[in-house]
């Protein structure tokens, strides 16, 4: 006798966020990415439609990152020195769905690059590539409030995803995003309430809910992964139960977190018993990524091309109904 699976009925769907705009839509992208829109829990196709597969954005920097392990830099190749080349390689060779450009050079402690130079980098990357773009600031509120509005304007029409807004600093960015037709990343510190509060604050400024992506802040394997997982799970359950203020896609900065872990970075010579650092790092990032897919991640921001490939294959398998 066949076993009848118990199916949950959900009353609400996650909003669909569109990133990128084609020529017809006023942009210049060859492809656009539709994010989320799930009507049920991740990969439970019987309970609700999963109209869009999770996507992978590959993270690039405007300056060559100085804290990446050698093996990770080598995996990118010499293109790491130029954001445009790096972006192209991600698109053509690494098969990224999106580019995630982090403007680390804007930071006052880094090069404090001038605003117009940074805006030009954004434009250059857009010109060179055909896939949608995510732009991140340097993380220093004051500087970001100078830089990001200019970058937003430079990318006007391209429907980029831009971040990050936080509870203490969301107004400037929201206003830019609203004016230039982009979407926003709302970051909260692994706290479902703050995530929701920030979404309400942003939507109170008249930004539609379909233009907000939640960065719930995650931790890598061994560094709070379970906690982040449970926060995402709770938020997603609330969303599916009808809470529109939490029904947004999740973006997870998997690469950022995984490559901070000692287990990913430590050299083979330092810990021979841990095995090859090259493989270890890749697996650390890949495992962190696949775990968050199960928690409902819609956009994975990754660094190592191999890890990204593993995650992509994993998504392929999971998306088979």
């Amino acid at each position: 006798m066949a076993i009848e699976l118990v199916k949950e009925k959900w009353s609400n769907a996650v909003a669909t966020v569109v990133i990128g705009a084609t020529k017809e839509e006023g942009g210049s992208r060859a492809t656009v990415v539709k994010c989320a829109g799930e009507e049920g829990l991740p990969f439970l196709f019987a309970e609700g439609k999963i109209p869009n597969r999770p996507v992978i954005a590959m993270e690039i920097f405007d300056l060559e990152p100085d804290d990446w392990p050698e093996s990770l830099k080598q995996a990118i190749g010499s293109e790491i020195k130029s954001p445009v080349d790096w972006a192209l390689k991600c698109e053509k060779e690494f098969k990224a769905d999106l580019i995630c450009l982090r403007l680390s050079g804007a930071h006052p402690d880094a090069q404090n690059r001038p605003v117009d130079e940074l805006a030009k980098t954004v434009k250059d990357v857009l010109r060179a590539t055909g896939i949608p773009l995510i732009v991140l600031g340097c993380g220093e509120d004051k500087r970001d409030n100078e830089v990001l509005p200019q970058c937003s304007q430079a990318a006007k029409g391209e429907r980029i995803l831009i971040g990050e807004a936080a509870q203490e600093n969301y107004k400037t960015l929201t206003a830019s995003v609203l004016a230039d037709g982009h979407s926003i990343i709302a970051q909260s510190p692994i706290d479902i309430n703050i995530a929701k509060q920030l979404n309400i604050l942003i939507s109170d400024m008249a930004l539609p809910l379909e233009r907000i992506v939640i960065n719930p802040t995650v931790g890598a394997l061994g560094y709070g992964l379970e906690y982040a997982y449970s926060i995402m799970e709770r938020a997603r359950l609330a969303a599916l139960c009808g809470d529109k203020m939490l029904a947004m896609p999740f973006i997870c900065f998997v690469g950022l977190e995984a490559w901070r872990a000692k287990e990913a970075k430590a050299l083979t010579e330092e810990f021979p018993a841990w095995g090859s650092q090259i493989e270890r790092g890749i697996i650390w990032e890949a495992l962190t990524a696949t775990t968050f897919l199960q928690a409902g991640a819609d956009i994975l921001v990754m660094r190592h091309p191999k890890s990204a490939e593993i995650a992509r294959r994993h998504i392929d398998e999971l998306m088979v109904v």
Partner: protein, 643 residues
């Protein structure tokens, strides 16, 4: 009746007293401080005086050395004048032995930290005051005793007992040895006309004091609400039950720590407990003195005092080490404190007067809440009720006559006007109502007693936040919109601020403002209180909708805008008519207990009945708290009327 003049040195103050009163009593009437901690039992030996001129009789005591005796030393509580006197109060009797604590106190006073207490406006109490029969903690009875003769030769003490029992059926009467020692002489010198003070002490009735003459019409008591941030005292005519005056002052213990935990920690330091004890006693004594003076009342006629306070405050009041309140498993030394002599705690009134404390519930839910529940009649109603006492420690009671449960959450002192930049207590001149014009941002406000504005009190802050939010000046997280330009909006020392009243207009030394830090503090306070309510309701598997009446208590003075309190998310979004603003319910309860023995029995039952729900071990509370850190709440569905 014969009277004597007593002059005290070095004060050089003279007072006239009836024959038969002790020198200690005379000093108290004259407003002169002599140490005394046993309440006139002649055992502590701290009330020494030196007789310079005149005649007195004194009972023998082991507290005066032979050498002192030669110099004319006597214990003032045992010495009764026989003629006009001149006495000197030696240094050791003037300063408390805990000089460090006192000097600290003087220092604080000089620094202005010890501000004067001030009159507070009390709203007309809507609480049923008449539900308990009149039987005060201390009563006075005038006895015109028949003189003994050969037919009627029962002893002096029995004579008194017999007379007392002819008024009231009191099977068990007690009297201290100090009274008995003086009795024979006193009765005869006062021509058998005496006033006895009867005190209800822990199930028995004690003849606390026997005074010459008829003082029965003068019997006064104090009710105190000893809060972590604010101390509120009320003078009551015990005979007529009339309230003669109410004062409030900030609890000076705040300079040793703003919350109970930091004070418990401070109490463990050297002299810490002394300092904390003196801070509260000093403030109470100042209030007693001022209220007595303003009402022309002799401190000797203040016979009883009833205190409601949280458990830590009561420990500190009685100088009991509060250490174990803070250590697992959080057990206080005493929840039910027996009635003691007020002097034993250092309270200056009639030295034999009584001090009662409202029974507490647990380490973190004190007698103030018992008193509040009593005042609201929560133990007598069929209706499912909630009492929310908005203080430094937000305290909640939920239940009805069949069951009661309570919890406490640390909210901070800002609703009491402390810890916020322009905060003041709900007293004369405090801004308590605010309206902001949505177009011009002009502010209309009203102050207590329509006096010149001096700051903002709790109810004013509730209005301010509601109005700032309504006009879009602040967002739901309490941040001032940086895009707005207006003369009232500016960058202040502590971030962005909004000017409620300009100094030129009100004559204050600086503008009355509210800034983002204040709003953040108020947001946390309201979040803690709301989260405590919702966690408690959820714990009982109830819904806010099921509550039939909600009593709101706190030092808000005469006014609280309920719709605004709901609008900012301090109170649950329920039908407005379910809310009853009861003001300082703890003080009302303390007064009821002071005036009725019945009420103390009820209070004890309430304290025994209330189950304590510990929020700190409840993981859900933190979640509810963060969700409540938003105006009105992260879950907007909980506030359908505030969309």
């Amino acid at each position: 009746m014969e009277k004597f003049k007593i002059t005290f040195f070095p004060d050089n103050k003279t007072i006239e007293v009836e024959k038969g009163k002790t020198i200690l009593s005379a000093a108290i009437s004259a407003g002169i401080h002599i140490n005394s901690s046993c309440g006139g039992d002649g055992v502590c030996g701290r009330c020494k005086i030196i007789l310079k001129k005149g005649q007195l009789v004194s009972l023998p005591t082991g507290r005066i050395t032979a050498e002192e005796k030669k110099k004319g030393y006597h214990l003032s509580c045992l010495a009764v004048p026989q003629s006009d006197l001149e006495v000197e109060i030696p240094k050791e009797s003037r300063l408390d032995s805990e000089t460090i604590a006192k000097e600290d106190g003087y220092l604080l006073r000089l620094k202005g930290v010890y501000s004067e207490s001030e009159d507070v406006a009390q709203g007309e109490s809507i609480l049923g005051e008449e539900i308990f029969i009149h039987s005060p903690l201390a009563t006075k009875l005038y006895l015109d005793l028949p003189k003994p003769n050969l037919e009627d030769k029962i002893s002096d003490l029995e004579r008194i007992y017999r007379a007392v029992r002819s008024y009231q059926a009191i099977p068990v009467l007690q009297t201290g040895i100090a009274n008995i020692r003086r009795l024979g002489e006193l009765l005869r010198s006062s021509d058998w006309k005496v006033t006895v003070m009867l005190g209800k002490r822990n199930g028995t009735t004690e003849i606390v004091l026997i005074e010459p003459g008829d003082t029965s019409s003068e019997n006064y008591g104090f009710a105190f609400d000893i809060g972590t941030t604010t101390i509120c005292g009320q003078l009551i005519d015990v005979n007529s039950k009339k309230i003669l005056g109410t004062k409030a002052a900030y609890n000076k213990q705040a300079s040793f720590g703003s919350d109970v935990i930091s004070r418990i920690i401070f109490a463990q330091e050297a002299d810490g407990l002394e300092k904390l004890h003196h801070a509260v006693i000093d403030e109470m004594n100042i209030m007693i003195q001022e209220l007595a003076r303003e009402n022309n009342i002799d401190l000797n006629d203040v016979t009883c005092c009833l205190c409601a306070g949280n458990t830590t405050m009561i420990h500190l009041l009685l100088r009991v080490d509060p250490t174990y309140i803070r250590r697992e498993p959080y057990v206080p030394t005493a929840n039910f404190v027996p009635v003691i002599r007020a002097a034993e705690a250092g309270i200056r009134m009639n030295p034999r007067g009584l001090l009662g404390c409202v029974p507490g519930i647990s380490s973190y839910v004190g007698g103030d809440l018992t008193a509040g529940a009593l005042a609201c009649g929560m133990d007598k109603t069929d209706k499912l009720s909630m009492l929310i006492d908005i203080g430094t420690n937000g305290e909640i009671v939920l239940g009805n006559k069949d069951w009661l449960i309570s919890c406490a959450a640390s909210a901070g002192p800002c609703f009491e006007g402390s810890g916020v930049s322009c905060g003041v207590r709900a007293s004369k001149g405090a801004i308590q109502r605010i309206k902001i014009n949505p177009k011009t941002f002009e502010v209309e406000y009203a102050t207590i007693l329509d006096a010149a504005a001096k700051g903002i009190c709790g109810s004013g802050y509730i209005d301010a936040i509601a109005e700032l939010r309504r006009t879009g000046i602040i967002d739901r997280s309490g941040k001032i919109n940086p895009g707005l330009r207006h003369p009232r909006l500016r960058q202040g020392e502590y971030g962005k601020e909004f000017v409620i009243a300009f100094k030129e207009k009100v004559g204050t030394s600086s503008d009355i403002i509210i800034n983002e830090v204040d709003i953040e503090n108020l947001k946390r306070a309201k979040g803690a209180i709301y989260a405590a309510c919702s966690t408690l309701v959820r714990h009982m598997q109830l819904d806010f909708d099921e509550l039939e009446q909600i009593f709101i208590a706190g030092g808000f003075g005469t006014y609280l805008d309920m719709p605004n309190a709901i609008f900012i998310g301090l109170l649950p979004d329920l039908a407005r008519e379910k809310f009853v603003f009861v003001g300082n319910s703890s003080l009302v309860g303390a007064r009821q207990i002071l005036l009725s023995h019945e009420a103390i029995i009820d209070a004890e039952n309430i304290a025994r009945k209330i189950t304590y729900f510990e929020l700190s071990v409840e993981p859900q509370y933190m979640d509810e708290y963060v969700a409540a850190l938003f105006f009105p709440h992260t879950d907007l569905n909980k506030f359908p009327s505030v969309q």
